[in-house]
């Protein structure tokens, strides 16, 4: 996948299933039979990856939800989106 920027639109792959429990997400990717646990921010990102909102929209939504350094948040979300894409959980929207 090419470099992820705030304008990139990503969606969950169709074989990804997940459950939200007490702020964490348990994520399964069917084709690989893998199970991952994401923290609260990771779970939010997964929810936001709907193929319609851009990564920049995710950053705005998370900045409204969580206090802290918005520059650091943007950097972390971009990096995390790249990780999820690399892991095969997200694909271009």
């Amino acid at each position: 996948m090419s470099v992820i920027t705030p304008t990139t639109v990503l969606k969950r792959r169709s074989d990804v299933r997940y459950r939200l429990i007490e702020g964490e997400a348990v994520v399964l990717r069917q084709s690989a039979a893998e199970v991952l646990v994401l923290n609260e921010v990771g779970a939010s990102v997964l929810e936001l990856a709907d193929g319609e909102r851009s990564v920049g929209d995710w950053i705005d939504a998370l900045a409204a939800e969580y206090e802290g350094d918005s520059t650091a948040l943007a950097r972390d979300v971009l990096a995390f989106a790249a990780e999820l894409a690399e892991a095969g959980l997200l694909e271009p929207g």
């Binding site: 997400a25 399964l28 069917q30 039979a33 646990v37």
Partner: protein, 312 residues
Amino acid sequence: MSFGDGFLRFPDLFPGRRGGEPWGDRTVAVDVAGGPYLFTGLSAAQAAAVRDRFAGLCRDASEAAATAMVATQVFRAPAADFLDRDVRGWEYTLDMEHAPSAVSLAGLRLMARLDWGPHLAGGLWTCEEAGEEWSASVFENFLRVLAAYRLLAEEGAVIHSAGVTGGESAFLLLGPSGAGKTTVSRLCLARGAAVLSDDLNAVRLGDGGARLQKLPFTGDLGDRGSLGDAPASVPLRALLRLAKGPEERLRPLSPAAALAGLVAAAPFVNRDPWRREALLGVLERLARAVPAYELTFSLAGDPWAILQSISP
């Protein structure tokens, strides 16, 4: 490699429906979690081998037929239909193909299918006429898969785990192969606990909470059924993810981490795209209902004492 290639000479001819020539007219009902499971069309030798392997769990067929929830027909298949495999140093894994209303299985000298129409029913084709290869390999491997799918329909699951109990309640030990399930089971046994199975256990949710049920499928420990041969069911007190370390420790796990461990440990069904949502639902309810911990154990320690310190 496509479905059946590793086991079948003619995978394209895999049975499209349950039918064929039965081995005989014998019927056996095996009463394990989710059952009793009724098997028809067996030869006398096949029925005897099943009764021998699952002694104490076989029920009178006519009695069981009235209550059996899952019936499986057993059919002949020519030996030439199956590939000869050199199994030395090889970890045997059934080949499975999933569809919305059926699951197909291929393995060593077996072909099988599970059909939902709408009730679960099975068909098993084999060239094994009798003996250990039939009962311990063909029959038992099919029964493991059948029980896993049947339990899912009953708010339950088969979990790759060790189950240990003091009689009043039970603990489910989770972890991949090599994590220490059998080792901790041995340590608990040495302290007077009973082990349900150190390989596969059944978990069921009900009005009274989660219960752990013995399955007749054991790992390296073999059958240590001090609870008897009946399908014992014990309230589930806690889920434990095992870790090895120099010092014994018990720390709480989040429900999400518990769910991840349960899903990874739910064999057969956790790779089925058509029934994975149902599995997730059952295991999520289990993870919410039962406290979970990470248990770090050492060979010199006493994990049974730690487990017993967990509040009921």
